[in-house]
């Protein structure tokens, strides 16, 4: 399974702004620009360049070979669930080998703070397609899909697929499906419904997608980045993949860094690197806190340098109830009150409800209102009492993960910034600013917390 080209491609180590492992041409990618939907001229690797970089696409895999390789590589899903990929593969494999299954690469990337999936598809679509078609072949899948949010990524995949057809590749047919730019569009069941030509809204199911996904068939659904890693592991082998390893997770991952940094953008980070190392590369300054994992992730309270020594892998982060999530690090500066920032994000998320389930429709605005009372120091005790009453009425009662993600954000804020909340209780705030501009929300999503607190 190991190819001779493996020697010329290094497993990445440390944190690099440019994703060397798979794209040496990557120019700076500024999240601000990605937010607004503009694209800079970033080069897509052509099929010829792709093959000269990584070598030919290997064939002739069996299920057991792939499964062993992924287990040794310890590849986890890159959409936030941190589930070992070989187990997911096994679930689909065992669910049904006769009726046929479907494979889906999820590039909905609905977290506004993430650009990794979009950038990966724009610049390196062949690597994702490689992983997708290899797995489709191994499982004898009936169909393979890439679910994608932005136009540039869509056309990059189309161009790549055209090149492959023209070169006479005989491989599984890949269908590209557009994801709408809504927050819930990336939920697993939203993806399935959209592929089935329905709305990109979550659907309630008692069965897992691995058992009953697209058209009720077993479906292997994972983040697009996971498939890119597959494209590398199946070429160069699990040992190559683990060669940059020093922590629990192996291999590298794509991390989007934004907020109070001079060099925002996408980083490829090897395992075992500290959060502080990544922030140093990104030239972070005046760091008050870091949102780890995205809006459904959690807060790291930064009191001094030591707090940034935390190793960026899920086992270490887990001790602080944090997780890598979708590979997002949002840096908050000392000029911003973290509780106000968190409350703004929660208010934004409350508005992103798909409006299908009662507890989510009614509960999220109540959570946001209560949280805003705490953030704006208007009535902290009342806010806390209301949160305690409403959270049990919402938690685990939605048709998808959305409300639970919001609750996780609230809990993490309370856990990380207890001292700040105490100040608020006394009618103070560590940051004297009446005019809050959120650092970590898209420009067009700056809500009105004061209005939320008065609901």
């Amino acid at each position: 399974m190991t190819d001779s080209t493996s020697t010329s491609i290094m497993a990445p180590s440390g944190a690099r702004r440019i994703t060397l492992g798979w794209d040496a041409n990557w120019k700076t990618s500024n999240p601000e620009i990605a937010f607004a939907g503009h694209s800079q001229s970033r080069t897509r690797l052509s099929l010829a360049e792709h093959i000269s970089n990584y070598g030919r696409i290997p064939t002739g895999f069996t299920y057991s070979l792939v499964s062993d390789s992924l287990r040794v590589a310890n590849l986890t899903g890159r959409g936030g669930a941190k589930f070992p990929f070989y187990k997911k593969l096994a679930a689909v494999y065992e669910a049904d080998r006769k009726k046929g299954c479907y494979i889906v690469a999820n590039g909905a990337e609905s977290e506004p703070l993430s650009i990794k999936d979009s950038m990966l598809l724009r610049t390196n679509p062949h690597l994702v397609i490689d992983g997708l078609v290899m797995i489709a072949e191994v499982l004898g899948a009936k169909g393979a899909y890439i679910y994608v949010k932005d136009k540039e990524a869509h056309s990059a995949i189309n161009a790549a697929l055209r090149e492959r057809r023209e070169r006479g590749f005989t491989e599984a047919k890949v269908t590209v499906v557009d994801a709408p730019a809504t927050y819930v569009a990336g939920q697993e069941t939203s993806v399935i419904r959209r592929i089935e030509k329905g709305p990109a809204l979550p659907k309630f199911s008692i069965e897992r997608v691995a058992v009953a996904g697209v058209k009720g068939q077993p479906t292997l659904l994972s983040n697009v980045e996971t498939f890119a890693h597959l494209g590398l592991i199946l070429r160069f082998g699990a040992d190559w993949y683990r060669s940059g390893r020093s922590g629990f997770d192996s291999g590298s991952r794509l991390v989007t860094v934004s907020g109070s940094v001079d060099r925002p953008g996408l980083y490829e980070v090897s395992s075992g690197v500290a959060i502080g190392d990544i922030l140093r590369e990104a030239k972070a300054h005046s760091v008050r806190a870091v949102l780890v994992g995205g809006y459904f992730g959690g807060w790291l309270n930064v009191r001094d340098e030591n707090d940034l020594k935390l190793i960026y892998d899920d086992s270490t982060l887990g001790e602080k109830k944090l997780s890598i999530g979708a590979g997002i690090l949002g840096v908050l500066s000392k000029e911003t009150c973290p509780v106000v920032e968190a409350a703004s994000i929660v208010d934004y998320l409350a508005e992103q409800s798909a409006g299908q389930c009662g507890p989510c429709i009614h509960g999220l605005p109540e959570i946001s209102t209560a949280f805003a009372r705490i953030a704006l120091s208007s009535n902290v005790d009342r806010g806390i009492t209301e949160l305690k009453a409403v959270i049990p009425l919402v938690e685990r009662r939605g048709g998808c993960q959305h409300p639970d993600g919001v609750i996780a954000h609230v809990r993490s804020t309370v856990a990380a910034f207890g001292e700040e909340i105490k100040l608020h209780k006394a009618g103070k705030c560590s940051v004297a600013s009446s005019n809050h501009q959120s650092m970590l929300l898209p420009k067009n999503a700056q809500g009105n917390l004061a209005a939320a607190s008065g609901r």
Binding site: L201, P202, K203, F204, I206, Q356, C357, G358, P359, C360, H362, G363, L393, R397, G398, G399
Partner: protein
């Protein structure tokens, strides 16, 4: 057998809570909370009726 309610369908009409008071209470927004879901045999008839009468077809009885 157990009861499941699809929250994306349920519109909170409450018919189910009237039929299955032992299992379902309504929250303050008038949506059902399943306080327990393992069905006793003696309640099977009532549960089937709840399935039939839910105007949104939101209730199911499933294995488990």
């Amino acid at each position: 057998m157990k009861i499941v309610i699809d929250p994306t369908r349920c519109q909170g009409h409450g018919t189910c809570a009237a039929l299955l008071a032992e299992y379902i209470e309504m929250d303050k927004w008038h949506y059902p909370i399943l306080s327990k879901n393992q069905l006793k045999d003696s309640h099977m008839e009532a549960a089937k009726k709840a399935v039939q009468l839910c105007p949104e077809l939101a209730i199911k009885i499933v294995e488990g």
